[in-house]
């Protein structure tokens, strides 16, 4: 237990350093990109003269040297102040916290669906590798993996928006039901979540089914599985208790590594389905040269990925008792 705590604390300390490094790199890269945010703000105001442009630059601190802007930003960030959005004229932290929930909901739902269904399909396929069902899973995996996430999304939008309009195709809530009770609201969100989560899950589901199939085939060929069968254990016990647990390690590893990919995929999915998460916020920030918002989103995304990897590390210890003492 104590070893685990020490490990967690050590990882957390590393994570803080990593976040600071990410922040510095992002700040430099974003400010190195061409484009003057003052011009964007002026454009959205309908044009501005030199005096107004100067006021805009002063108001947003854009008239100060870059290194000064960085250290000011760093100091404020440590205190939880990520600045004010140029686009929305609101504290960035408020914008991010408002969008964090939808993104986490989308990504975790997609990840969970992908792992559970993908692994399930892989396990089924591994039990009779040459069967028709296994072939179907393989073809489904290849097609799912080959389809770009935005294209899958657009197809689903056309299908459920035009051909068979039974699913909402945009947003997270039915705005007509504004002010409904918590249960109704939860059901409404779940209804809106189906298409974006399915879109994001399909590509990863395909990967997990392929991975779990291969992993299970390897484990099922092991000596200890043969021994388990020789002991007269049922097929279900052999598959799910002995084989699957051992086959899970690569799946968990990939799940942790793919969390970052999932977030980048969420940017596309959120844009296609107008899902009000960090992805759409990031896209708007990029298009609007909204540096503070973009930096805030990137920092939060980095934190999410670091936390996901930390959880992955810890879950190894749960899955494999041999690692608990290390």
């Amino acid at each position: 237990m104590q070893r685990t705590l020490v490990t967690v604390l050590r990882r957390l300390a590393l994570a803080v350093g990593l976040v600071l490094a990410v922040l510095a790199v992002n700040f430099t890269l974003i400010h190195a990109a061409p484009g003057d945010p003052a011009l964007v703000i002026a454009g959205e105001m309908g044009g501005a003269d030199e005096a107004t442009m100067a006021t805009i630059r002063k108001t947003y601190g854009l008239d100060r040297p870059l290194h000064e802007q960085f250290f000011t930003y760093l100091g404020k960030s440590v205190r939880g102040d990520l600045g004010t959005s140029y686009t929305y004229n609101r504290p960035v932290i408020d914008l991010i916290l408002g969008r964090l929930g939808p993104t986490v909901l989308l990504v975790l739902t997609a990840l969970l669906c992908a792992i559970v269904i993908g692994t399930g399909l892989g396990v089924l396929a591994s039990r009779r590798p040459d069967s028709f069902g296994s072939g179907v899973v393989t073809v489904f995996s290849l097609v799912g993996y080959a389809m770009p996430v935005f294209w899958t999304g657009i197809l689903l939008v056309i299908l459920f928006g035009k051909v068979w309009p039974v699913m909402p195709i945009a947003g997270m809530r039915d705005v007509r039901a504004f002010g409904a009770g918590p249960w109704q609201a939860a059901l409404d969100v779940a209804h809106h979540l189906v298409l974006p989560a399915a879109t994001l899950a399909i590509v990863y589901l395909a990967q997990y089914s392929r991975l779990s199939r291969a992993s299970m085939l390897e484990v099922l060929g092991s000596d200890y599985i043969r021994t388990a069968r020789a002991k007269g254990l049922s097929d279900a016990v052999v598959t799910f208790k002995h084989a699957l647990r051992n086959a899970l390690m690569p799946i968990v590893t990939i799940a942790g590594l793919q969390f970052g990919n999932l977030i980048s995929g969420a940017v596309l999915v959120e844009t296609v389905f107008s899902w009000p998460g960090l992805g759409t916020l990031a896209l708007d920030a990029i298009l609007g040269r909204d540096y503070p918002t973009l930096l805030g989103v990137l920092t939060f995304s980095a934190i999410l990925v670091i936390v996901a990897n930390l959880i992955t590390d810890l879950s190894y210890r749960w899955i494999d008792p041999r690692l608990r003492g290390r």
């Binding site: 964007v40 044009g47 030199e50 108001t59 686009t87 609101r90 939008v157 945009a170 107008s274 708007d284």
Partner: protein, 528 residues
Amino acid sequence: MTTLTRRRLLGAGAAATAGLFGLPLEALAQAARGGVLVIGTTQKPRHLNSAVQSGIATMAPAAQLFASPLRMDAQWKPQPYLAERWELSPDNRSVTLFLRKDAVFHDGRPVTAEDVKFSLEAIRDNHPFTSMYGPLNAVTIPDRHTAVVRLAEPHPALLLAMSTSLTPIIPAHVFAGGDLKVHPRNASPVGSGPFKLVEFKPGEHLVLERFDRFFLKNLPRLDRLIFKEYKDPGSLVLAFEAGEIDAAPQLTGLELARARRVAGAQVIDKAAPAVGPLVWLAFNLKNPKLTDKRVRQAISFAIDREFVVKGLAGGTVQRSTGPIASGSPFYSAEVERYDHNPGKALQLLDAAGLKPGADGNRFTLEIDCPPGFAALTAIQEYLRPALAKVGIAVTVRNSPDFPTWARRVAGQQFEATMDGVWNWGDPVIGVHRTWLSSNIRPGVIWSNTQSYSSPKVDELLAAAAREMNLARRTALYKEFQKIVVDDCPVAFVIESTWGEAWGRKVDNPPRGIWGNIDSLAEVGMRKA
């Protein structure tokens, strides 16, 4: 638009106001009340305070949150709103507004002349349309409900400027102090309009609710008004087709055609004529290739506007002929039309001494375009083959983002560019800025970035900016349009007037000069 003479102008009385915006008053009293109207939009408001921010994104919701001194009816005539009547002084240098005594803000505080003074001065000092209140000297307050607007010179655009979309009366007790452009309450404002703010989630939706103490009795008709954001016109129309939203405003081209096919859809073509969105190809007159007006005219003659209208825009827009949009009372069609005539273009280029080289090209022309505007990009692409036919080799230069394009054009580092510029009701507000030589201001986008300079045009516009007689003012603008179109500092291509699609349940959709960028108090939802 109105004729402003020295006679006193008296309002008809606020009680009659509602009847002027769609349904007759009696019908309005019996019309269905309640319901929720969802308007889809691709516009993303930075905030909701239109006193310091132009653009539809802010102005459409702001017209519901804030009341203005006046409203304009469908005939461009000012009508009472917060001001129940008004008087113009004999020398046309002041207007006295007599405010309603029963108007209150959403927080219950009364609307007073102090708020009018604060708002007008705030707009003059902060709004990007600097000419709108440029002549405003001061606002004096003889009593709590009377405001006298004092001007440095007669200002014929004043009454239009005081209408819903352009002059929100913001509460001094909320907004006084601090920099208004970044005021924290810009995102959660208090107004005295028909709807009050419930929730503003940028990137998602804006929820407004009926203000029960709105000063016009029995209005608004709706219980709730919601603006829901969509990423592009395609998904907006898809949502309209699926019945997810009740209105899809600002549609053009294929999207408008699709919305028209929705069962029961009420489509208002050429909506919001006051906005007057013009699309043109602007020339940099400082570029040696384009200083000769015959070259610019040749390019204009080489453009097949009928193809642009029908082929590129699906017939949902119309060709434009000059700097003032056709919906304006000051529009004049008596200008050179530049009908498609490649032969004449060749003659003009020959006369300008631009003979074809060995490769058949007379000269090269680099054309820019602001990014993110599909209609403009399509025209930019079309110009390549169109101008090639007269020996002009076009290279298309794309900008990765708006700032890059704006820097190039405002910095006059361009040869020609597609652009979309809006009239905004009165020429003083949205037209003069492009043509006055005093407005050649490097670094400022949507100023006179063409560097066009004509003493005669300057003289005409200066006179029109002071002329209070409608007939004389119209004559001044007529001459102005003739000169500018002949000088051809830009090739006028289309008026990208848009249509508004309203669902079958929507009762009395807005048909005024500002379209849905106006108060929607009179709009209702049918029960069945």
